[in-house]
Amino acid sequence: MKPALIRLQINHRTVEVVAGSSVAAAIAAAQSSAVFRRSITGQPRAAFCGMGACFECRVRIDGTGQQRACMVPVREGMQVICDE
């Protein structure tokens, strides 16, 4: 049986990932060197710990900023904005 697929938008591009994936996994699957966010000094940052501790993977999800992509499961139609 094929796993269910979820369609979401990452920086306005539609991405299809396996249901149950984290947003961080979806971002990495869409682009392996994706910039999730930037530090105050402008350095590129991406998911690091993958378990909610390091806060490096924060993105805007459905309008709310500073969400940890690694801790949020994908949902159908979700709007994700990275590196805004």
């Binding site: 924060r58 709310t64 900023g65 500073q66």
Partner: protein
């Protein structure tokens, strides 16, 4: 034994402002502070520069001080942000109270304007629907208080002020003795906030605990320091505990959320029951904050005098002893004016505003 014109005890923002102004007037100043500069109430404060119109003396001191803050608008470590204050009216009664507030503010020269509901939502689209309007005070601002305290101390030291990282153990009659036995002679000015009764038991100060919550950076969500018009009921009431909607946009985009007031708790422990109550109040006005993460929660104690006004001036029945303490929640706003009021009297100059309402004589005579 060392001799100074003035020994300032306490380097919170009030003591720092006193040392700064005294040194600028040419006095030989010593500062006594065992902890970090601005490390207690100054570090816990929101840093909102605000004039409250409820008490004429409090308003006079706040307005005088707000003018003095203009010197620090461009000081990087002050993180000065002129976001203005927007008082929010929850209902028609609160909205109807605005003209009287405007009149009291205008009488001392504070610029403010009434905004109707439509203007309110244009200014702050994140506010909950159903609010009646508000009052905007555009020149008010927020600062980072410990950064300012540090700057004021550094400036005093650059003018030759001495720094003693010691606890002031005892008043000697001719000065103060420090914990390591050092004796400093001269006029003494005590600016130790909640710790005032340790040196001056005749001037009572109660600690009124507050909680603050800060979020991650969400620039543009909130533009003004937002308070409910019912805030004064919480601030000036004498309930054992109260909360009020009081939210501030930090220049970083972080959102600083207050406020709670509580007598009876002596420890700095965080009460999650109080935080929940405070956040529930916040979400009534800004429901959009509910999805945000809190990065940190902390507490602090406001130094409350017997009548809510600070003790500023000469201490009766002591030679050469002065005080600047008991500012409750307005110590950051009024630090600069408080310093001038006390030091000008010490130097025999006519203070810029009537000093009598703050005279410690009213309590300690």
């Amino acid at each position: 034994m060392k001799s100074y014109d003035l020994v300032v005890v306490g380097a919170g923002i009030v003591g720092a402002a006193c040392a700064d102004y005294a040194s600028a007037q040419g006095l030989r100043v010593a500062m006594v502070e065992p902890g970090p500069i601005g490390g207690v109430a100054t570090a816990a404060a929101m840093g909102h520069l605000v004039a409250m119109d409820d008490d004429p003396a409090e308003l006079a001191l706040a307005h005088y001080s707000l003018g003095l803050w203009d010197e620090f608008v461009d000081l990087p470590q002050a993180e000065f942000s002129r976001c203005g204050t927007l008082w929010v009216a929850s209902n028609a009664d609160e909205y109807a109270s605005i003209p009287a507030k405007l009149a009291r503010l205008a009488a001392v020269g504070v610029v403010a304007e009434q905004v109707d509901a439509e203007q309110l939502y244009r200014l702050e689209p994140a506010l909950a629907p159903g609010l009646a309007g508000g009052m905007r005070v555009p020149n008010e601002a927020v600062v980072y208080p410990p950064g300012v305290a540090r700057y004021l101390v550094d400036r005093a030291i650059a003018r030759g002020a001495a720094w003693y990282p010691q606890r002031a153990h005892q008043l000697t009659g001719s000065g103060v003795r420090l914990n390591d036995g050092t004796k400093l002679d001269g006029n003494v000015l005590i600016a130790t906030g909640c710790a005032l009764p340790q040196l001056l038991p005749e001037l009572p100060v109660r600690g009124r605990k507050g909680h603050l919550v800060i979020t991650d950076r969400h620039p543009g969500l909130v533009h003004h320091q937002l308070l409910e018009l019912g805030y004064a009921d919480s601030a000036h009431g004498d309930a054992d505990s109260s909360v009020a909607f009081n939210v501030q946009p930090r220049p970083t985009g972080q959102i600083l959320i207050g406020s709670s007031r509580e007598y009876g708790s002596q420890t700095s422990d965080i009460s999650m029951a109080m935080v929940r109550r405070m956040l529930a109040r916040t979400l009534q006005f800004l429901p959009g904050l509910s999805g945000l993460d809190a990065l940190r929660i902390w507490t602090g104690f406001r130094p409350v005098s017997v009548d809510g006004l600070p003790y500023l001036g000469k201490v009766p029945q002591h030679a050469n002893l002065w005080v600047a303490a008991g500012h409750e929640g307005l110590g950051v706003t009024t630090a600069l004016g408080s310093a001038r009021l006390v030091i000008d009297q010490m130097l025999g100059n006519v203070p810029a505003i009537d000093p009598r309402p703050y005279d410690p004589m009213r309590v300690a005579a």
